[in-house]
């Protein structure tokens, strides 16, 4: 149900963008105004939300320890799973952010009989698909810099040529374009087909996936089917930088769908779960060292609570203490 509603929502958004082709004014709105506003919302939204997280205090140091602690010098500690200091934390975060280490734990490599092989692959796929999606996404976004920057930076060119290493198709089909669509497709199918995941999924979970798929597919088609005139697009974008809002010439519906869905993503991003990326950096179970006993952690709002004091205790049990021969502080 939620999956269907979300699909319809994304389809409606795409159709909306198609209307832009019709009139010059709409072309300006969809081709320049909306993307500009959306990008601004994106920047402000992300900064605002991350700031709100960062400003919330961390009263206690509560890392989840997933390896041996650093205690006695002759016991080997596992610095990456149970960091004892900043360096370890950086390493742990590095593995977490770039390689989804915790998610990888989910998969277990062992010899299994053929019949049951499928099952394990199932759990490995989540990690693999997540890796494939995020890395492809990163590279695809990076590749887009060639539209924004003139001259195109050398790194972008290198990445681009690596990405098109297989030299398939004209223009060359980038590996990440395919990976992006395939991995998104898998993540969507998993949500629909795995009852366990389906049960926990919210409509917005599907919405995000459809939106991303819409963006990826329209972008792919634009490059390989419609073959949009890059020069015009680039010229228009260059205009934005000097605050001249113009829509590119000679682009069709696909372009507007792509750009409008990206705009929707920009606006949606800071208000949704899509902003999980900075969350990893701010997660107190991951970004703190497990050195609680070695170094005092300060709670900025530590409440002035006093427990039952010894004096009160001694007073309450005075007679019994005396009868049992305890030495008292106060006679």
């Amino acid at each position: 149900m939620g999956a269907l509603v979300s699909l319809v929502a994304v389809a409606v958004l795409a159709l909306l963008a198609v209307t832009a082709v019709a009139s010059d004014n709409l072309r300006l709105v969809f081709g320049a105004v909306i993307p500009g506003v959306a990008f601004a919302v994106f920047l402000v939204g992300v900064v605002a939300r991350v700031t709100r997280w960062a400003r919330a205090p961390v009263p206690f140091r509560i890392p989840t320890t997933a390896g041996q602690q650093k205690s006695l010098p002759w016991i080997k500690n596992s610095e990456l799973d149970n960091p004892s200091g900043t360096l370890g934390v950086v390493g742990r975060m590095f593995l977490e952010v770039l390689f989804f280490r915790s998610l990888f734990r989910n998969t277990k490599v062992e010899l299994i009989t053929d019949k049951e092989k499928v099952n394990y692959i199932g759990t490995k796929y989540l990690w693999a698909a997540a890796m494939a999606f995020h890395w492809s996404m990163l590279i695809v976004v990076f590749r887009h810099f060639r539209f924004f920057v003139e001259p195109v930076p050398r790194v972008v060119e290198i990445i681009q040529s690596l990405d098109g290493f297989f030299q398939v198709g004209v223009p060359v089909i980038y590996a990440t374009s395919v990976l992006l669509i395939v991995s998104l497709g898998y993540l969507l199918l998993r949500r629909l087909a795995d009852a366990k995941v389906k049960y926990i999924s919210l409509p917005t979970d599907y919405f995000a996936l459809y939106l991303l798929l819409g963006i990826a597919i329209s972008g792919f088609l634009m490059r390989h089917l419609e073959k949009v005139d890059i020069v015009n697009v680039k010229a228009a974008i260059a205009g934005w930088a000097s605050f001249q809002l113009v829509a590119p010439e000679g682009v069709g519906a696909l372009y507007f769908i792509h750009v409008f869905l990206v705009s929707v993503l920009f606006v949606y991003f800071p208000f949704s779960k899509l902003l999980h990326a900075p969350g990893v950096f701010l997660s107190p179970t991951r970004n703190l060292a497990n050195n609680n006993r070695a170094k005092r952690h300060v709670n900025p709002w530590n409440p002035p609570i006093v427990g039952h004091t010894y004096a009160e205790w001694e007073e309450e049990f005075h007679d019994k203490l005396v009868a049992s021969g305890f030495v008292l502080d106060k006679e």
Binding site: K108, E116, V118, N119, D194, K196, V197, Y199, I200
Partner: protein, 170 residues
Amino acid sequence: MSLNLSRDERTKMVARWFDLIVDGYPAETARFLREQSDPFANPVGAGLREELAPILDWIVDGGDGAAVESALDRIVRIRALQDMSPSQAVSFVLILKDVHEEIAADTTAGAKGKFDSRVDGALLIAFDVFSRCRQQVYDIRVKEVRNRSLKVMERLNSWREERAGGPSTT
């Protein structure tokens, strides 16, 4: 006397039986029970996977009653604790009748009747196991209250009495 069920039929029956039992759980749980093949991550699924075949073999071939009881125990012990009525907890044995009807090649009334009555036998054992497990849960509960600190208290009190030459209070 003896029932004729080929290896192939049995394998199919066990697979079908497993599916039907697992489908008795909520869909999202069923998928987990079916797919997680690590016996330590999925003890419920592993119990079914490993014990259904020996139970079926016993039903078909007869044999050691203690062995089938221990196989049934592994499954019933779990179901005795889950959110199920007593009848639901043991009913998984009964489903085997349908499975047999669906898969067995020998569909004569005689074969069916024989098989069904053997299933009834297994069901009765399952029921015994179920009752035993439930009783054990109650026993454990009562015993725990006693063990936890009463035992120490009793020992302490008698020690005190001995020392003081009379009963004392806590």
